[in-house]
Amino acid sequence: MKNDTGNKIKLGIFITAASLLFLLSIYFIGTRQHLFHRTLLVSGIFRDASGLMEGNNVRFLGLNVGVIESISILSDSTVKVDMQLDEGVQKFIKKDAQAIISSEGLMGNKTIRLTPGDTGTVIKDGDVIATVKPADMDMIMSKLNTTATNAAVITNDVAAITHNIRAGKGSVGKLFSDTVFADNLDQTLVNLKYGMKGFSDNMEAAKHSVLLKGAYKRMKKEQRVEKREERKEVKEEKKEEKKEDKK
């Protein structure tokens, strides 16, 4: 009899623990789906649901603040999406808030992203908020296609140019491949060096010639006067500073 009671106690603990686990799991799943929070219903009218499904998250500032309650087709070009939002975020979302359909990464689920809005009045239960047309994947792909076509044209041109260069065509090609041209260039540089030295010597000789001597002397004088004035200014500034320090 004693043993029977002990078994019943064990069985009771077993059943209670399993039931608790089950109820807790229901509670946690319900919490994630905002079932046990006070919520407000807000709708958005989109032109395209973009694969949005009931139960997808609604995000505000990167946080999950609600779920999509239902999606229904309003007309041949509009879809109404009802969102259940946590009542706690009501004060942050204004009437001119916008809903944008986005996705969690490349392979992730679709979500609705809410922007806060600027006006003073906050949204109320049953409000319809503005929506923004999501970036269409097809449009992005077509733009990428144009970019890729342009890139192909550019690379073709570059390939033709490098081909010409390698073949020794044009001045750049000659520069790279023609040895005679390179020798000529080298000789030209040598000549230029000698030429420049000769020019420098000529200028030095001109300084001492009768015709230009006066002009050079005047220039030197002016330079000396400028230097003296600069020194005087510096000295005066130093004196003033010393006086101020003494005061």
Binding site: N7, L11, F14, F28, G30, R32, G55, M107
Partner: protein, 274 residues
Amino acid sequence: MVDATNTQKVKSKQHSAEAMTQEGFSLFPFFIEIASLFLFIIHFFKEALRPPYEFNEFLRQCYLIGYKSFSLVGITGFIMGLVLTIQSRPTLAIFGAESWLPAMVAISIIREIGPVITAVICAGKVGSSIGAELASMKVTEQIDAMEVSGINPFNYIVVTRVLACTFMVPLLTVFADAIGLMGAFAGVNIKGDTSFSLFFFQVFNALKFTDIFPAFIKSFFFGQAVGMIGCYKGYNCNEGTEGVGKAANSAVVMASLSIFIIDMIAVQITSFFL
């Protein structure tokens, strides 16, 4: 002498071949089995609703079937969670989606592995023991003795066991799921570094009511199938000790098979409605 034995062998072979063509490929025994199982189920529901209710025997069976299977189901659940996580990691790593590991494992465990593994283990442990117990009671004429002494043997033996199985397998499934998720947590942390709170968040973020309720409801049917088939095989076993072994064996085989058939039907129904 040798010739005589050879001719005997040939004759017996011919005889068995004739028997095969006459009976072996016939589907009649199968249909008879199905019909008698159906009648047994109807009998069960009739008796289950009719008093007296053997509540104490029901609790005793719950203890034996539920509490006593807990350790086995728990260990299996833990290992399944751990192994599933370790095996799934490389495939997810190819896509760079290792952070989805807890969500994927949780859905697999809760939707499918937890209920099915628990039911199959119960079919092996509980179904065979019920089959053997009832068969030996039948063989030793204990059931007849009960009838003589005025106790309704069906109510006392079958109804209590089937009901205990029906209610205990879902509870064991809940434990198997919880322990399996702990195994998955251990598996995630063998090669990675995920905190318990993050794991917990990812698991419950991935789960929905449509994952938990169909799995929980189908485990009732699994439990009922295990109990019903165990009792049916034991209650209708052939005379002799050979019948006891046969009853236990066929109870396990048939219960396991019926679990998978019920699972297949449950998946079809779930996908039809959700």
